[in-house]
Symmetry: C2
Subunit: 100 residues, 2 copies
């Protein structure tokens, strides 16, 4: 099984997190993860973009440390790293999710 790389909580970079969140499609993903359960498959997100663009957005979020991704068979399951983000950048995710 291929392993997906994730930054450790202490290595999360504000530049990368803010850039990752500065996109409406990526915030749609984050919002759905925040509102729902962990381990949501990429295919469960009704995004107005094609598959490769969608995959790109999930990867940006993972590499920034905003989400965790893991394989389950051929699917990739996504979980918001809410606690890690709160530990590293207190209040940031809450403020972004509250914004409209």
């Amino acid at each position: 099984m291929r392993t997906l790389e994730h930054p450790r909580t202490e290595d999360l970079q504000l530049d990368a997190v803010l850039s990752a969140l500065a996109d409406p499609i990526r915030r749609t993903i984050v919002r759905q993860l925040a509102d729902g359960h962990a381990d949501q498959a990429c295919i469960a997100f009704a995004l107005p973009v094609g598959k490769s663009t969608s995959t790109h957005h999930f990867r940006v979020l993972r590499e920034a440390g905003v989400i965790e991704q893991r394989y389950q068979g051929t699917a990739i399951l996504n979980t918001l790293r809410a606690a890690d983000l709160e530990a590293r950048f207190p209040g940031l995710l809450t403020a972004v999710l509250a914004a409209t």
Copy 2:
């Protein structure tokens, strides 16, 4: 006197604000404005970049609505739009300034 354009508070866009803040040089500017007085001249910021790059960063912050800029003679004075940002995106600027 040339007038500098600024978005109105209600027109501030989260994409633009997060992108503007996702740069360490621009956060240095924001931090110095947050720690100090209003109306700081661009020349008062000891930034590790050249003049045109510096001017670019100030413009990105202004166009995103993060700072207000106004002419005083040939100088441009800068003020953080902390209250406008707080009104539009509560907690966001505080969280970004608290992050290290």
